[in-house]
Amino acid sequence: MIATLLTPRFLRNALPALSLTVLLLAIFYLQPRAMSYFGLNLLLNLALPIAFATIAQMCIITVNDLDLGVGAYVGLVAAIGATWLNETPLLGAAALLGCIAVYAALGALIHLRNLPSIVVTLGMSFVWLGLALLVLPTPGGKVPDWIRAIMTLKTPFLPFTIYAAIGVGVIVHFGLMRSSYGVVLRGAGGNPRSVSRAGWSLLRTKVTMFALAGFFGMLSGLSLIGLTTSADANIALRYTLLSIAGVILGGGEFVGGRISPIGAVIGAMTLTLAASFLSFLRLPPDWQIGAQGGILILVLAFRAVINRAEARR
């Protein structure tokens, strides 16, 4: 009885994992050789930076904002990582910390002046891009060896990316979904007034979430250059929309503090795999972006159907 009552809610939570599984099975069916350590590594190694960017975006969405600058920001981190961090590590580390501080300041600005985050972050995206071009005018640079070493770590049974993605999902899950302050952070997205009436500082929640976004955005940039070995200011511009799609695909919603960190990681992986899947289908590249959108619509339509079933209950 109770099990059947819970079905739609359970389905809704399981949908991201379900979509990933279906996609993975389809890929294995089309290309059995992908079912190997090497194959999985090839398929998924770019998923980790996207997962980090998605988590960054999710932090912002938690407090009912949207970050349209995360792609450019990841590009700036990549540029810094491939130049200063390698040549003068202290300066590089200071610059990266500075970036996180700017993110925190953006949160404060948006809260105090009551500005629309879309406008602020879109404006900032040009600043990030400009700075990245100043740091690294032409593609190139050299990635510090330790980053390279981490990203090419050979782990037993499954590729490093998978362990890392699971680790990120679980850590953020405990931080935001299970910890007691995480509840307040999510509450600030659900009903800010209620949270401030209970005596919490909304400024602090916003600054915390933006700083976290800056931190995960940094991890995204560093993990990306660990894979590519060199950087380019424009390397991650498409991450902005990918990260938003990843959050939504993972069961999050744009407003109301409804998020799912594990879902977001899965969403990022699904998006990465969708691209490979379409290549395996030998779909002409012209059609791929449209088809990727099609997959997104399909999953979201499923969610709408589940929500309806739940409402009818």
Binding site: V183, V184, G187, N191, R197, A198, R258
Partner: protein, 489 residues
Amino acid sequence: MSEADHSIVRLDGVEKHFGAVHALNTVDLVVTPGECLGLVGHNGAGKSTLMNVLAGTQIPDQGRIVIRGIDSTDGYTVATAKQHGIRCVFQELSLCPNLTVAENARVMHRALTGFGWRRRAAALILRDLDEIFPGHGIASQEIVGDLSIAKRQMVEIARAFSVTDAPADLVILDEPTSSLDAVVAQQLLTFVRRHVAAGGACVLISHLLGEVLSTADRIVVMRDGAVVEVRKASDFDRDSLVTAMGSVAKDGDGAGAAYASKRADGSPKVRARPAGQVEGPDLTAHAGEIVGLAGLAGHGQTDMLIQLHAARPSTRHTHVHGPVALVAGDRQTDGIFPLWSIAGNITIRSIRHLLRHALIDAAAEREMASQWQQRIGIRTPDMENNILSLSGGNQQKALFARALASDAEILLMDDPMRGVDVGTKQEVYRIIRDEAANGRTFIWYTTEMDELKHCDHVYVFRDGAIVADLTRREVTEEKLLHASFEAAE
């Protein structure tokens, strides 16, 4: 003053302005342990502002706030209030809908932290829910957004009474029973008496005067931002209370008038059967009738209204003849467009008739708005002001105006008088009767007994089905309660 020694809170000459509006005018107030203070007054009399000052969410322009004999005016905030055990249940629900019941308890209590906090939060909120509302049927891990509005209110009340490191000495309840049915409301009022008997204190704000008279020890009457009367509850009765509020209410004006069936001729405008109902009476409504939907809250009345609203023109079990308009009960979520002007909120339902050359005729729109401002008495200097600039009662009037100004022949009302003051209610009742006399049909879900006296027919709902069909002559409180509870006995 001897009270100062043991009072929980004393307000001395508190004043508060909002622009030109004098919301609080030198208000003095004392709350002592072991008493329940009733606070009554019209919408806009300053009750909510006073409560916000007590809770620390609004800072008074002048005056002193003395807590347990210590002047705490400077730097008085929500945190100070909480520290001293002053809690508030606000009129509009203030839980986080995306969090679970237990997580909402955590948002309130800083002490719920560290290892095992989830278990402690769940135990805390469930203990208070069990104590105040036995048989509530709420699980601690349920998401608040999935709960009915009544259950949300129960959670919020239980949360206000829950105690961790800070005490809950004074709990302020603003319209706590507005979404609760009679049984649950009684559970709450009984608990309030227990809380008070144990040395706590309560401030009870309510438009249901019977509730205040039966529960409060002292009653404070407010009018136009000032306290006009403070007396023991036993010195008041319903009439003297209404007089003190300066209300224009004439009890039973036209209500309970002789019943004459309007069903003699013509076919019904509405005939419907609740989705889950197999046998029993259908709901019928003829032109010019006011039909009431009664029963305990959440037993299918709102679903019935939605079914009627969705069934234009007709489905198998639902026949609706004529255009329909709905007056929402949950103003904030289903009713108003919070970013729009008052005029825009009124005319939206009729926009199709205000077109000229495929564009909205601004002059006609303005005219409709100002016409309805006068007819229904919306108190604002300018209909172009934002809808949120109105008090709750006036917002509700605007929603009525939206429905009445439309071409609808059938008006569905989803308990629209929640938290509306007596004077406004009487004005709206009069308009409803006039419009019914003009041939409009009203289908009215209400949780208040008094409102059912305006109805020609009352259908009692239980578990999603109609269990009784009473004419106005037959409606009594006993009969309604009997019909609402039959199954439980």
